[in-house]
C-alpha cells in the first residue's frame, strides 16, 4: 500500500466532515457523530479481519469493555475525561491481550467461535454485575464535562478522537508490522519461514484492534451518556463485521465507508418502513452476491483477482 497516496484526500475528507456543523443541521451533526464512532469501531476490526486475516466474531466485547470502563470511570469514580479515555483504552487492550492470548492459538472458524464465546461471556458479566455496570438496564446517566456536552462540541471531540485513531491506525497499517500482518493474511506458512512469530504478531494485532475498539466504545458511552449490555452481544459483532464487508476488506478506508453506509441505511429504512429487516437483508444479499468487494471495490472499480492461489500451503 502506498502510504502517501490518499493522505491529502483523507485530510481533505476530514476537513469536509469538519464542516458538517457549519453547513448542516443538527440532525446531520448527530448522524455524523454516530457514524464516526462506528467507523472507528469498524476500522479497528479491519486490522484483524482485513489486514491480519483473522475473522473475529466477538469484537464487540472490547467495544463494550471500553465503553463501560469510560462511563464508569467518569461517572462513578469522577475521573477526568482524558484519563478515563486513556484508561478505558488501556483496559480494553489488556482484556484483548488476555483473551487474544488464548484465541490466537486457533485458526479460521475456530478462532471466530472462541472470540464469540468470550464476547458472550463479557455480555453476561455486563448483565449480571449490576452494582458496577447497571445490569440489564445498562449504565444510564453518565456525566460529561461541560466542554463537550453540547452536540456540536461533542462532534468536534469525536472527530478529533476519530482522526487521531484514523491516523494512528494508518501509521500502524503502513508500518513494518502492517506488512507482517498482510504477509500472514496472504500466506501464514511463508511468513513463518521468513522468521516471523505468527502467533505473537496475531496477538499484537488482536490487542491493537481491541484497544481501538475500546476507544470507539468509550466514545459511544460518552455520546449516549450510558452503556448497555447489547453493545457486547453477538449481533453487535455481526453488525460491525457487516460494516467491514460492506465497505470492503483489504482497503484501509473501506470500513469507514461501510460504517457510514450501513448506519445511514439502517436509520433510513427504519424511517420508511417497519419491515427494515427484509429490506436490509435483501441489500446484504445483493452485496454478498454481486459486490463482494464492498463499496471500496465498487468505487475504485477494482476487481480483486481470484485468490485461489493465496492458500498454497505446502505439504507432502
Amino acid at each position: 500500500m502506498r502510504p502517501r497516496g490518499g493522505v491529502q484526500w483523507t485530510l481533505f475528507g476530514l476537513f469536509l466532515v469538519a464542516l458538517v456543523p457549519v453547513v448542516g443541521e443538527r440532525y446531520y451533526v448527530d448522524l455524523t457523530t454516530q457514524i464516526l464512532i462506528y467507523a472507528l469501531f469498524a476500522l479497528s476490526l479491519n486490522i484483524l479481519v482485513g489486514y491480519c486475516g483473522n475473522l473475529s466474531f466477538g469484537h464487540a466485547a472490547f467495544f463494550a469493555i471500553g465503553g463501560y470502563a469510560c462511563v464508569i470511570l467518569t461517572t462513578t469514580y469522577e475521573v477526568t475525561l482524558i484519563i478515563s479515555l486513556g484508561l478505558s483504552v488501556l483496559i480494553s487492550a489488556v482484556a484483548a491481550a488476555a483473551i487474544g492470548y488464548v484465541c490466537v492459538r486457533l485458526a479460521a472458524m475456530h478462532f471466530a467461535m472462541l472470540t464469540l464465546a468470550f464476547s458472550m461471556l463479557v455480555w453476561s458479566i455486563a448483565i449480571k454485575w449490576t452494582p458496577v455496570t447497571g445490569g440489564d438496564d445498562g449504565f444510564v446517566g453518565a456525566t460529561l464535562p461541560d466542554l463537550i456536552s453540547n452536540p456540536v462540541s461533542f462532534f468536534y471531540f469525536a472527530l478529533l478522537i476519530f482522526s487521531t485513531g484514523l491516523i494512528l491506525l494508518r501509521v500502524i497499517c503502513t508500518s513494518t508490522f502492517g506488512r507482517a500482518m498482510i504477509a500472514i493474511r496472504e500466506n501464514e506458512t511463508r511468513a513463518t519461514f521468513m522468521g516471523m512469530d505468527v502467533r505473537k504478531i496475531r496477538l499484537q494485532a488482536f490487542t491493537i484492534a481491541g484497544a481501538f475498539a475500546g476507544l470507539a466504545g468509550a466514545l459511544l458511552g460518552l455520546y449516549n451518556r450510558g452503556m448497555y449490555p447489547e453493545s457486547a452481544f453477538w449481533t453487535e459483532s455481526g453488525q460491525v463485521l457487516i460494516m467491514v464487508l460492506l465497505g470492503g476488506m483489504h482497503s484501509f478506508i473501506g470500513p469507514v465507508l461501510g460504517a457510514a453506509a450501513l448506519y445511514i441505511l439502517e436509520t433510513m429504512i427504519n424511517q420508511y418502513t417497519e419491515y427494515w429487516q427484509i429490506v436490509l437483508g435483501v441489500i446484504l444479499l445483493g452485496v454478498v452476491l454481486i459486490a463482494p468487494d464492498g463499496l471500496a471495490g465498487l468505487l475504485s472499480g477494482f476487481r480483486k483477482r481470484k485468490d485461489d492461489s493465496v492458500t498454497g500451503v505446502d505439504s507432502e
Binding site: G13, G135, D136, G226, I253, W276
Partner: protein
C-alpha cells in the same frame, strides 16, 4: 517511486463524502406543514413485535380521533414511529433522530424499561417530553427522574400493592415469587412484600434469566417449595413456554397462582387456549369483553374497527391514553413548548376509557389500574376469560 508497491485500492475521500451526502440527502427532513408531531418508539421487530405492533394501534386510534375532531388548536397530529429493536443504543439514536430531523414535539415509548431509560437520557438532554405508557420501572420516575419524564404505566409500586390485595383475596399464605431476573421483577416483589398483610410472606424467590426457553429447573423448584401460592411475573412468550412445560407436571393443580405481567390478556389466553391454567389469577391492561363504561365500550368499538377484529388487543389503551394526555396538554398550553407542556401535564386530570386518571405533579406518575381476576373456562369456547374481572389500582 516506480510502482514497486502493489496497487492498494484507492478510494477517494471525495467519493466517500459524495456517498455519505447522497445517502444523507435521501433522508432529508420531511418538512410536512404545520402539524404537531409525535415521535413514537416501539419494538416492531423480533421478540418485541408482539408488544410494539398492537401498541402502535392505540397511537393511530387516538390521532385519528383527534384529527377527525379538528385537531388540537387547529393543528393536525402526526406520528413518526421507529423500531427500537429492543436495544437501548438504537432507541436513543432513533429518539435523537426523531427530535432533530423530524422535529417531533413529544416522545412516546417504549416497552422495555432499559430502552426507555436510555431514551429518557435523550429526552433530558434535548428537553423534550418522554411519555412512557408501558415501561413499568420505577427508576424512570425515581432515581433517574427528570422534569421531562412522565410515566402513565401501572408502575411496580402500584402493581405490587394491587397484587398484595389479590393475595389477600385468595388467602395466599406462604408465597413463592418468580420472575425474570431484572429490575422490573426485583422492584415489583419489593413492593409486593411491603404491602402484604399480616400472616402472608414471600418465603422463596426464584429468578430466571430473561429469554429463558426451558423452565424445568424453575418448575422443579416451585414444586419443591412448600409455599401455598405462586406470585409470577414471567411474561409474553416465556409465560406460554412456562405453562406448556409445567402442565404435564401438574404444577397448576398443586398451588394457587397469582400472575402479574398482563398474562390475563385476551391475546395470551387466545394463544394458550385450553392449555391455560384455569383458576389462575391474572391481570391485563384492557379486556375487550369487560367494558367498564359506555366510554370504554365506545373505545373498544373504535379499536375493533381499526384492528379489524372484535377481540381487540390490550396494549392500545395505554398508548391511546398517552396521546390523549399529550394532546390535552398541547391544547391547554397553546403550543408545543416543552416547559409549558410540563406545567400543563403536572396535575392534569383526564377522563379515559378506563375512568379518570390524574398525573401527580410531584412524581409525574398516574394511578393506573389494571383488570384483575381469575381465569375461567366459558361455554362454547376454548379461550379462557377473566371472570369476574375487576379494574383495580
Amino acid at each position: 517511486m516506480f510502482g514497486i508497491y502493489s496497487k492498494a485500492r484507492r478510494v477517494f475521500a471525495l467519493e466517500i463524502i459524495a456517498l455519505v451526502m447522497g445517502l444523507g440527502l435521501f433522508s432529508a427532513p420531511s418538512m410536512s406543514a404545520d402539524t404537531i408531531k409525535i415521535g413514537v418508539l416501539l419494538p416492531t421487530s423480533g421478540g418485541g413485535a408482539s408488544y410494539g405492533i398492537p401498541a402502535e394501534n392505540g397511537i393511530k386510534l387516538a390521532i385519528n380521533e383527534i384529527n377527525q375532531a379538528g385537531g388540537v388548536n387547529g393543528k393536525m397530529l402526526e406520528y413518526f414511529i421507529r423500531d427500537t429493536k429492543l436495544k437501548p443504543a438504537v432507541a436513543s439514536a432513533a429518539a435523537r433522530e426523531l427530535i432533530t430531523k423530524e422535529g417531533v414535539h413529544v416522545l412516546v415509548g417504549a416497552v422495555s424499561s432499559g430502552v426507555t431509560l436510555a431514551m429518557s437520557e435523550v429526552a433530558k438532554q434535548e428537553k423534550i417530553i418522554l411519555f412512557a405508557p408501558i415501561s413499568k420501572s420505577i427508576a424512570l420516575t425515581e432515581s433517574k427522574f427528570h422534569k421531562y419524564m412522565f410515566q402513565s404505566s401501572a408502575n411496580t409500586n402500584i402493581e405490587g400493592r394491587v397484587m398484595a390485595g389479590v393475595m389477600k383475596k385468595v388467602e395466599a399464605g406462604k408465597i413463592c415469587a418468580t420472575g425474570y431476573d431484572y429490575a422490573y421483577s426485583h422492584d415489583f416483589f419489593a413492593s409486593l412484600e411491603s404491602n402484604l398483610e399480616e400472616g402472608m410472606a414471600i418465603v422463596d424467590t426464584f429468578y430466571v434469566k430473561l429469554g429463558t426457553k426451558d423452565y424445568n429447573a424453575l418448575i422443579s423448584q416451585l414444586m419443591g417449595s412448600d409455599c401455598d401460592t405462586v406470585a409470577g411475573l414471567i411474561w409474553g412468550g416465556g409465560f406460554v413456554s412456562m405453562v406448556k412445560q409445567a402442565n404435564p407436571f401438574g404444577l397448576f393443580d398443586q398451588k394457587k397462582f397469582v400472575w402479574g405481567a398482563e398474562v390475563g390478556s385476551h391475546e395470551m389466553s387466545n394463544s394458550l387456549k385450553g392449555d391455560y391454567p384455569e383458576g389462575m389469577w391474572a391481570n391485563s391492561y384492557d379486556l375487550w369483553y369487560s367494558p367498564l363504561s359506555d366510554a370504554h365500550q365506545a373505545f373498544l368499538d373504535d379499536l375493533a374497527e381499526l384492528e379489524g377484529q372484535k377481540e381487540t388487543n390490550m396494549y392500545p389503551v395505554t398508548t391511546y391514553n398517552a396521546v390523549k394526555f399529550l394532546a390535552k396538554a398541547i391544547e391547554i398550553s397553546g403550543g408545543t413548548d416543552s416547559d409549558a407542556l410540563v406545567t400543563a401535564l403536572e396535575g392534569m386530570a383526564m377522563e379515559t376509557p378506563l375512568g379518570p386518571m390524574t398525573i401527580d405533579p410531584e412524581t409525574h406518575r398516574t394511578e393506573t389500574g389494571e383488570f384483575w381476576g381469575p381465569m375461567k373456562k366459558i361455554e362454547g369456547s376454548d379461550v379462557l376469560r377473566m371472570s369476574p374481572a375487576e379494574y383495580v389500582y
